[in-house]
Structures are given as structure tokens and as C-alpha cells.
């Protein structure tokens, strides 16, 4: 569906233009800078909300169309389904010789992510309102970061995806290294950047290999498929065999381009089997997959509040999103082979992350490790490879994004006034900051999966999906066979919930309840209206989605179905 008005481009370019204008402004005009920043972020949010609601109104039709396609059962059903799920499409040829086009669109998974980014952008600017040191540069880099994140979510061309992926990483480094926590910022910023860059480079190599292999496929064995796709409208006239477009790579994947046996001369090896772990884990590093999660807690803690919010809230979802798109969607057979053992890593994320969070003394580290733990559930949902688990993963991406942004907002508000993050030293803060206390409780209940909040709405399908998948997945290592292996994973992961409940309760009780030491914190006062807005803005979706999951569930289902259809599992 072609867009009449380039909404998605606007969403990407408004922050970029905003950033550029800010960089040219006089650094003394801080209020003007902040005003422009919030205007850009606010406008982006409104456009994101528009995209979300508009797509929501189309979801029923799209789902019906998907069902019809499945009924018809043509070849390349998955790719066609993927193409027809896209909305607000914009396509302009960019570097024709390399098959790169500026191709943007949203589908059922990216629309909620776009909305989430808008929310976190607005609240991030608002919570950074009082930053006085080099306000100009901060706001400019923050907006660039926001633009990069948006770009990844709406990209339908792999090059565009990478372009914005890197665009998002570069301001992260500057933001953390310059405005972060003095003790840790340079180390954390460098570690974060190196980890993510290395991961993305590995994935990039994989993606380029995919493009080349797809090209070879279309020119030889898949020539007919290619011609058919052009005829039926899946590919457009100017699409070449060598293309970075997601649609054409998906077409190749669905028709077996990556499943040719004997790849690299190894018996039984296919392209997908070899490259999937590299691509998936390369991107999943940004999602904090064990054992490459190490950059995340330090990154969270060292970053200024707004950056922590966008880091945990959105950036980690970028990793999961890209891992899904480039890994699972484009190398589905590889996914089927490798996800069973990758899911074990995600289990370690969930349980180990929770245990570590329990041990932390620093308020922000608790939240940081809790992010690592909850992101494990996202990847676990992907591993279930059925509509229930994968939609649950999508729900968790949104729910956790809002929840962790809320958490970091609360932590930031406490830290700004108390100037300490040491949990044992804090206490009784709900008496002086009731809004923050209640918001933290809402976030806490969400994170432990309490029914009535969005965390439950996300975790329930993930676990259910894993149960359902359990019949089909047998772990085979050599001659060791473990059936119903996913059920065991689920049961252990469910224990992770108990630990989550424990540390959330402990932190809440220690920091917010108990006695407030007036002598130690003489000038801690309540939060401003601006900050209350942030808390309500981020907390409301947690409750809304928790009470009425139909707000987002059909949309995510529509987004995940094409991925499963490509595999033939829809």
C-alpha cells in the first residue's frame, strides 16, 4: 500500500532536521533549544500515534487477507503475505547499482515499536529538561538517536536498516561518554559501542552474503520464481536480482535459496544453517543475549536517565527486531535448526539475569539486569516459532519498553534529588514522592507479570507458546535426545518470575517504604508536573494493555504471521 503522504520519512527526518537546527542555534538559548527538541519529539509522537491507529484500523482487513492467502496456498505465500502486510510504504531507488532503495513501511510488529519510540522520545526529552551542561549538543544527539531508532523499525531495505542501525549507535557513545555517570561513562560507552558494532558487523557480513546468494539464486535456479514474483506484483518492475530489499530476500528464502545443501563444501550444511547463528546473535547482542549481554548493565548505569530510557526501552528492542527480521524471517530453516539451543541462552538470560538483579546494591543496576532478564523472554518467544509465542514476544517488546523506561524515569527522579543510588541508603521515598512510588509499583507489578498489567499479557503467551511448541522440538546433541525440552525451559523460566517478584518487592520496600531520613535528605521534594506527566504517559499503557490486550494483540499477530508463513508454519 503506497503512502500518499510520506509519513514515515517525516517521522525519521523531523528529529534529524530538529537536531541540525539545534546545532546551529546559540548555546545560551537553552529554553528555545529544549522547546525545539520537545516540539520535534512531540510531533514525531503524534505522527507515530497516527501511524499506529491508522494501521490498527486496517488490521482486520489485513488479517482477513492473510487468511485468504493461506487458503489459496500459492508458492511464495509468505513473501506475498509480508508484502501485503506493509503499510505507509515509500520506495525510492537510492543506489541502483547495488540494488539499494530507500524503502520504508510499517507492519504489525513495527507499528507498535514506532509508537513506543515516540513515547520514549517525548519522555526522554522531558526528563532531560534540566540538563544545563551543553544542552544544545545533548538534545541534538538525542534527536539523532531517535531518528536512527525510527529508521531501523520502518526500514524494508536491509541497507537502510543497517544505515539507521549505525546511526543510532554513534550518538549513544557520545551521549553516554559526555553526560553519563562520571565514574563509569567512558568505559561503559566504549564497551557498549564496541560490542554492538562488532555484533552488527558480523550480522552485516551475513546480510551481504545473503544478498549475494539471493542474487545468484534468482539468476539461476530461481529465475522462474523471480519472474513470477514480478508478474504477480510481489516485486516491482525496477527490482533487480541483486537487491537489498527485504521482500526480494524473503522471496529467495522462502523458495529455498538458502537451503541448498553442501554449502561451503561441507556435507549437510546449508547457507541458512551456517549463517543464522551469526546473523541472529550478531543482532541479538543488542538485545542482550547471554553471554554477550555484558555491555548492557554498565551501559544502562553509566548513561544519563533519558539515554537509559531509550537504551533499555527501545534500543534493545531494535536488536530483537533486527534479529527477527534478518535472522528468523530471512533464514527460516536456520532458525528452526538453531533456535532450540539459542533458547537455552535466553533461559540463562531470564533466570541468571534475575538472580544477578537480586544481588545489586545500586538501584540502576537492578533495573539494568532486570532488562537483560526480560529481554530473554522476547527471544524465548521467537524461539517458540508459533503465532502465540511470537505475538507474546512482540507484546513483551512493547510492554517491557514502556515499563523499563518508566523504571529508569523513576530512578532518575530519585537520583536527581537524593544524589545516591545506593539502595540500603534510601528509604521511605514514597512519603516525599508518592507519584514516583506508585509509578514504580505499577512498573514493578508489570515486571513480575502480575495479571492486570501488560507484563502478564506478554509473558502468558510466551510461556503458552513454548508449551505448545514443546511437542515439536526435540533437542538432539549427538545421540542425546531430549523431548519436551521446551516444557522444561518454560518451567525453569517460570521460576525466574518468582525471583523477579522477590527482587522487585525488595527494592520497592527498601527504597520507597520504611522510614524517610529527613536529616540525610533535607531538600528532597516532590516531583514537578512535567515529571508526573512522564510517569502517567509511560504507566498508562502498562495498565491499558494489561486490562484490554486486544488493543495491540491483533496487530502483532498480523505482523508475525508472515514470518511463520514463510516457514510454512502459519
Amino acid at each position: 500500500m503506497e503512502a500518499t503522504f510520506p509519513v514515515l520519512s517525516m517521522i525519521i527526518f523531523i528529529p534529524i532536521i530538529g537536531a541540525v537546527i539545534i546545532l546551529f542555534m546559540n548555546r545560551e538559548q537553552k529554553d528555545l533549544i529544549r522547546g525545539l527538541a520537545i516540539a520535534s519529539a512531540g510531533l514525531c509522537f503524534i505522527l507515530s500515534l497516527f501511524v499506529f491507529l491508522n494501521y490498527n484500523s486496517q488490521v482486520e482487513a489485513i488479517t482477513a487477507n492473510q487468511a485468504a492467502l493461506l487458503e489459496a496456498g500459492d508458492t511464495s505465500t509468505g513473501t506475498q503475505m509480508f508484502k501485503e502486510t506493509l503499510a505507509f510504504e515509500e520506495k525510492v531507488p537510492w543506489i541502483e547499482k547495488l540494488g539499494i532503495s530507500y524503502h520504508l513501511a510499517v507492519d504489525g510488529l513495527s507499528a507498535p515499536m514506532v509508537l513506543l519510540t515516540g513515547m520514549v522520545a517525548v519522555t526522554g526529552v522531558l526528563i532531560s529538561w534540566r540538563i544545563d551542561d551543553r544542552t544544545k549538543e545533548f538534545m541534538a544527539f538525542f534527536l539523532l538517536l531517535v531518528a536512527g531508532v525510527y529508521g531501523v523499525f520502518v526500514a524494508v531495505d536491509l541497507f537502510v536498516l543497517f544505515f539507521f542501525y549505525e546511526l543510532a549507535i554513534f550518538p549513544m557513545y557520545l551521549l553516554i561518554a559526555t553526560w553519563g555517570w562520571v565514574k563509569l561513562r567512558e568505559y561503559a560507552a566504549m564497551k557498549l559501542t564496541l560490542y554492538i558494532l562488532v555484533g552488527s558487523v558480523v550480522a552485516l557480513v551475513g546480510v551481504i552474503a545473503m544478498v549475494i546468494t539471493a542474487d545468484q539464486f534468482f539468476q539461476n535456479a530461481g529465475a522462474e520464481v523471480f519472474a513470477q514474483a514480478k508478474a504477480s506484483g510481489i516485486l516491482t518492475e525496477d527490482d533487480r536480482t541483486f537487491s537489498f530489499g527485504m521482500t526480494s530476500i524473503t522471496l529467495a528464502a522462502e523458495n529455498g535459496a538458502f537451503d541448498v545443501v553442501g554449502y561451503a563444501g561441507i556435507d549437510g550444511m546449508t547457507f541458512a544453517k551456517l549463517w543464522f547463528p551469526l546473523v541472529f546473535i550478531g543482532f541479538a547482542i543488542l538485545a542482550g543475549v547471554f553471554p554477550f549481554h555484558n555491555w548492557s548493565p554498565d551501559g544502562h548505569v553509566a548513561a544519563p536517565t533519558a539515554v537509559s530510557m531509550i537504551h533499555a526501552g527501545v534500543l534493545m528492542k531494535l536488536g530483537a527486531y533486527a534479529a527477527l527480521r534478518c535472522g528468523v524471517q530471512l533464514l527460516p530453516e536456520g532458525a528452526q535448526v538453531h533456535l532450540p539451543w539459542i533458547v537455552f541462552l535466553t533461559l540463562i538470560n531470564v533466570v541468571y539475569g534475575a538472580f544477578i538483579a537480586f544481588r545489586q546494591r545500586d538501584f540502576k543496576y537492578v533495573i539494568g539486569f532486570s532488562s537483560v532478564s526480560h529481554m530473554g523472554l522476547v527471544s524465548m518467544g521467537f524461539a517458540s516459532m508459533n503465532i502465540v509465542g511470537m505475538t507474546g514476544a512482540g507484546l513483551q517488546m512493547f510492554s517491557h519498553g514502556a515499563m523499563t523506561a518508566l523504571f529508569f524515569g523513576c530512578v532518575g527522579m530519585v537520583y536527581d534529588r537524593a544524589h545516591t543510588r545506593d539502595i540500603p541508603s534510601l528509604g521511605g521515598f514514597i512519603k516525599v514522592m508518592p507519584w514516583v512510588g506508585i509509578a514504580f509499583i505499577v512498573g514493578g507489578l508489570t515486571s513480575m507479570g502480575m495479571p492486570g498489567f501488560s507484563g502478564f499479557i506478554a509473558e502468558f503467551p510466551i510461556f503458552s507458546g513454548m508449551w505448545a511448541a514443546s511437542e515439536n522440538v526435540t533437542l538432539t546433541i549427538g545421540s542425546f535426545h531430549l523431548t519436551n525440552y521446551y516444557s522444561i525451559i518454560v518451567i525453569i523460566a517460570a521460576l525466574g518470575i518468582v525471583i523477579t517478584a522477590a527482587y522487585v518487592l525488595r527494592v520497592t520496600a527498601t527504597v520507597f517504604f520504611g522510614d524517610f531520613d529527613r536529616a540525610k535528605y533535607p531538600d528532597v521534594g516532590d516531583i514537578t508536573v512535567r515529571e508526573r506527566f512522564i510517569l502517567v504517559f509511560l504507566g498508562a499503557p502498562l495498565i491499558l494493555l494489561g486490562v484490554y490486550p486486544a488493543l495491540m494483540d491483533p496487530m502483532l499477530q498480523a505482523g508475525m504471521r508472515p514470518v511463520l508463513a514463510i516457514l510454512g508454519l502459519a
Partner: protein, 531 residues
């Protein structure tokens, strides 16, 4: 009716709670706003009860709309006779609890808001016809109650509230897994549909995920069984209750004992009995005894009756006495439910059961006991709270001879105690008699022992009366105003009226309950299948 009254009942208290939270921090404004909202909602709840047509005993006022499409879980709510009586109970007790909470001076807005949020959760459970909706509200009620106990409770509140929360949450982890298992395999979370599908589910050639189907069903059953046993509470899963009840502020105790415990019993009746008829009557081998889960449940119920009574007898803390009396009284509920479970299972398997008439009596008794105990325990906690508010101690040895200075309070105290004891003419007698009469032919030995337990019920009640009201007057209180005040009297008056009315003419509620209980039990054989 066009107006979705049940959704209103579920959400209006929460909305009212948010409004109360946002009101200016003026105590009387918050108190009356909350009271007004709760009374209005209570009126609607009563209207729902009286609008229920006992001649058409199935679910009424049903709403089913899209909620969580991914899981095939709908916003599916409705009431039948059993839920209507529970809705009435909740609607009645909430404004009374708020009225009693006028004595709270600290953070009034938040306290009132939490009571209202709690009421929302309770309504949600009772009107749920979808297992996900049920589970959601079941768990959600833990949160406001935790905060009510933790923030406004007695000296040992931190321990009591944490134990209550973790015990209940941990216990329902099994239920969470069971809910997932049942809902996903059956492909629906709708309780009426599940009652049709799940008992006959045999999996793929007798196994599910490679495990024999009987084992799977047994595990799912246990998940629900343990979670609900904790809530009712059934001995020996009751140990969270004495602390939680005694440390909670008066309103918290009233709602906790008055309504929250009934969530567990309701869960048994609505979910466990219809979904697992085969498990309830399947042979169970324990240490050489061949028995079944219904008998085990009846045994545990009997233990609750007896041990609850003994434990109550030994208390010096008035609130702990009433708390253990809850274990004692809910034991009768459990006994009635055990009979229902056995009979439903037999009717499902064989088309009919020899115990059908007894089961109908026993189950009527159990549900009526749920309602009655709601009234009497709320009343007892109200009275305990009243005297605590004046004397600032819960230690009955410190009371003594209060009758002299508080005759009206004393009279009400005796009235309420007699209701709790099961004096004929008051409500407790009707329900306990029905349960005993119904379970006599099914679990004779256990019933006999329970009736001996009843003796001790009389024992602790009379002991309580003596300790509080009779004997020499403790001069320590000579300058304290001990008499019940007008506000407390207004709060307890509706309970007194209903206790007397239900005792003398129980049909006003028994008709409604009976219609649905009979319907549930006698349609068991219609659930296609049998073993």
C-alpha cells in the same frame, strides 16, 4: 438489559478509586466520596442480585466481547445464582468496610482507594466466565490487600502482609501453569465451553506431550487444588490466615475474611469441580488406602473444622480467635464442596448419582455458608476492630466485664457470636445444617467428627464472650468510652438485619442459590462423555 451492568460493577470501583486518589488530601472529602461511590456500587450489586431470574438458572446478563484474541480469551462475564449472591455480598460489605475505615487518620485517600480497587478485583472474579479473566482478577486482588495490611496494619504487619502475598502468589503459580495447559489444549478459555471439552479431552492417543493424559490432568488438577486450598483456606494451607487477618486493619479484615476467602471456594465450585470430574472420583492410593480426591478434600475440610475450632479456643488475641473461626467455618464450605465434587464426578461418569439430593443440599449449604460467613465474620471483625479502636489492645485477657460499660456493644457481640456459632434462628444454623445434612450420607464418619468440632465452635465462641464481656470489670478502662458509637452501629446494622432475616426466612437468597446449584449438579451428565 442494555446497560452492561456487570462491566460497570467491575470497573466502577477502580475508577472511583482513581478519583479518590486524585482528590485533595482532605479526610472527610475522601471518606464521603469513597462511601458514596461504594454505596452506589453496592446498590447496583444488590440490583443485579434481585434482577437475577431464578426460574432461568443458567448464566444471565452475559457479555462476551473481544479481549485477548491471540489466546481466544474473551471479556466473557455473566452471573448465575451462585455468583449473584457473591456479588451481593461484595456490594454489601464494601461500603461497610469504608464506613468503618473512617477511623483511619493516616493517608485516607490512598486507603479508601485501595479498598475500592480491591472491590473491583472481587467483582471481577465473581462475574468471570472466562478462565483468563478469572485468573487475572484473582491475582489482582492480592495487590491492594497487600498494601492495606502492610501500610495500615498492626505491629506485625510487614511479616503478615509479605507472608500472605508470597504464599498466595506462590500457590497460584501452579494454577498459572494449569490455566495455560487447559486453555491452550482446549483452544478456549471460556468456562462453560471448557466444562464441555476438558473432561473429555484424552490427548493424542492417550498422551499429551508424551505424558499420560491422566498424569497431565492430575497435575493440572493439583495446580488449581492447591491454589484454591490456600485461599479458602483449607487445612493445612491456612497458616497465612491468622497473621494476615489479625494484623490487617479492620476494613481489611472484614473484606479479607468476608469476601476474599470466598474466592477460593468459588474457584472450586466454578472451575475445579466442572473441569475435573474424573480426577475427583478417580481412585487414589495413599499409604495403602484406596480413596479419591473428594474424600481427601472432605478429610481436610473436617480437619479445618476441628483444628480451627481448637486453635480458636486457645487464642487470647481477639482477632486471631476470629481468624481461626474463619478456618473453622470455611471448613464447612469445603465439606459441602467435597460432596458436590464427588457427586458431580459420579453424575458425569454414570449419568446420575445416588447422592444427588444430598449433594444439592450440601452445596446449597456451602454457598449459603459462604454468604453467611461473609456476614458474620465481617461483623465479628467489625466488633473486634471497634473494641481495639477504643482500648488499643487485642488481648482478651485485658478486656473483661466490658458488658457493664458497653451493653449495646455487648448485645451485638453476643448476637454476632451466636450467628457464628450456628444458633437456630440465625443464619449460621441454616447453612451449617444444610451442609451437615447433605454430607451425612456421603461422608458419614467425617461429618460426625466435624459435628464434634462444632461442639468446640460453641466452646470458643462462649469463651470469647466470657472473656470480653463477662467477669470482673478491668478498672484499667474505667475512663475509656467503650460503647459502640453511631458510625460503627450503622455499619453493623445491615449485617444484623440480614443475619436475622436469613436465619428466619432464608428463602430470599436460598431460592436463587438453589436454582443454580441444582442446575450445575443436575446437568453434569449432559457434559458428553463419561470415562
Amino acid at each position: 438489559m442494555n446497560f452492561d451492568v456487570l462491566s460497570f460493577l467491575v470497573f466502577a470501583p477502580a475508577v472511583a478509586g482513581i478519583i479518590v486518589l486524585l482528590l485533595p488530601q482532605q479526610k472527610w472529602l475522601a471518606r464521603f466520596a469513597a462511601l458514596g461511590a461504594a454505596t452506589l456500587i453496592g446498590g447496583v450489586a444488590a440490583a443485579v442480585f434481585f434482577a437475577y431470574n431464578a426460574a432461568a438458572p443458567d448464566f444471565q446478563m452475559v457479555i462476551q466481547s473481544q479481549w485477548f484474541p491471540l489466546l481466544n480469551a474473551d471479556w466473557h462475564i455473566g452471573v448465575d445464582g451462585i455468583s449473584a449472591s457473591m456479588v451481593l455480598l461484595t456490594g454489601l460489605l464494601t461500603p461497610l468496610a469504608i464506613l468503618i475505615s473512617f477511623e483511619i487518620e493516616d493517608r485516607v485517600n490512598t486507603h479508601m482507594a485501595l479498598i475500592l480497587f480491591f472491590a473491583s478485583g472481587l467483582f471481577g472474579v465473581f462475574v468471570a466466565m472466562d478462565m483468563m479473566v478469572f485468573f487475572l482478577f484473582y491475582e489482582l486482588t492480592l495487590v491492594p490487600m497487600f498494601f492495606i495490611i502492610n501500610q495500615w496494619g498492626g505491629p506485625n504487619r510487614k511479616y503478615a502482609s509479605t507472608k500472605f502475598f508470597i504464599y498466595s502468589l506462590g500457590g497460584s503459580l501452579g494454577m498459572l501453569l494449569a490455566v495455560q495447559l487447559v486453555g491452550l489444549t482446549a483452544g478456549t478459555f471460556s468456562i462453560p465451553e471448557l466444562a464441555q471439552i476438558w473432561p473429555n479431552f484424552t490427548g493424542a492417543n492417550g498422551t499429551f506431550l508424551g505424558i499420560p493424559i491422566q498424569t497431565v490432568k492430575g497435575l493440572a488438577f493439583l495446580g488449581f487444588f492447591i491454589a484454591f486450598c490456600i485461599k479458602v483456606p483449607v487445612w493445612p494451607f491456612h497458616t497465612w490466615l491468622p497473621d494476615a487477618h489479625s494484623e490487617a486493619p479492620t476494613a481489611g479484615s472484614m473484606l479479607l475474611a468476608g469476601v476474599m476467602l470466598k474466592l477460593g471456594a468459588y474457584g472450586f465450585l466454578r472451575l475445579v469441580i466442572p473441569l475435573f470430574p474424573d480426577v475427583w472420583i478417580a481412585d487414589l492410593n495413599i499409604l495403602g488406602f484406596v480413596t479419591n480426591w473428594s474424600t481427601v478434600f472432605a478429610f481436610l475440610a473436617m480437619m479445618g473444622v476441628v483444628f480451627g475450632a481448637f486453635a480458636a479456643f486457645g487464642q487470647t488475641d481477639i482477632k486471631r480467635l476470629v481468624a481461626y473461626s474463619s478456618v473453622n467455618h470455611m471448613g464447612f464450605v469445603a465439606m459441602g464442596l467435597a460432596v458436590a465434587a464427588l457427586t458431580y464426578g459420579q453424575a458425569w461418569r454414570d449419568g446420575t448419582s445416588e447422592h444427588m439430593q444430598s449433594a444439592i443440599l450440601a452445596t446449597n449449604g456451602a454457598v449459603l455458608q459462604m454468604f453467611n460467613h461473609g456476614l458474620t465474620s465481617a461483623g465479628m471483625f467489625l466488633l473486634a476492630g471497634a473494641i481495639y479502636h477504643k482500648t488499643h489492645t487485642r488481648d482478651m485477657t485485658q478486656y473483661g466485664g466490658l458488658w457493664v460499660r458497653a451493653p449495646i456493644y455487648g448485645g451485638i457481640f453476643i448476637f454476632m457470636s451466636m450467628a457464628s456459632l450456628g444458633l437456630p434462628g440465625l443464619n449460621g444454623f441454616v447453612s451449617e445444617f444444610l451442609v451437615v445434612r447433605g454430607s451425612w450420607s456421603v461422608f458419614t464418619a467425617l461429618t460426625i467428627v466435624s459435628m464434634i468440632g462444632l461442639l468446640f465452635t460453641g466452646g470458643y465462641i462462649l469463651k470469647g464472650i466470657r472473656a470480653v464481656l463477662h467477669g470482673p470489670f478491668n478498672m484499667h478502662w474505667k475512663d475509656t468510652n467503650l460503647e459502640i458509637d453511631l458510625r460503627e452501629f450503622i455499619a453493623i446494622a445491615p449485617l444484623l438485619v440480614l443475619i436475622l432475616l436469613t436465619g428466619l426466612a432464608p428463602n430470599w437468597i436460598l431460592n436463587v442459590i438453589n436454582a443454580s446449584v441444582t442446575h450445575v449438579l443436575t446437568t453434569a451428565h449432559l457434559v458428553a462423555g463419561g470415562m
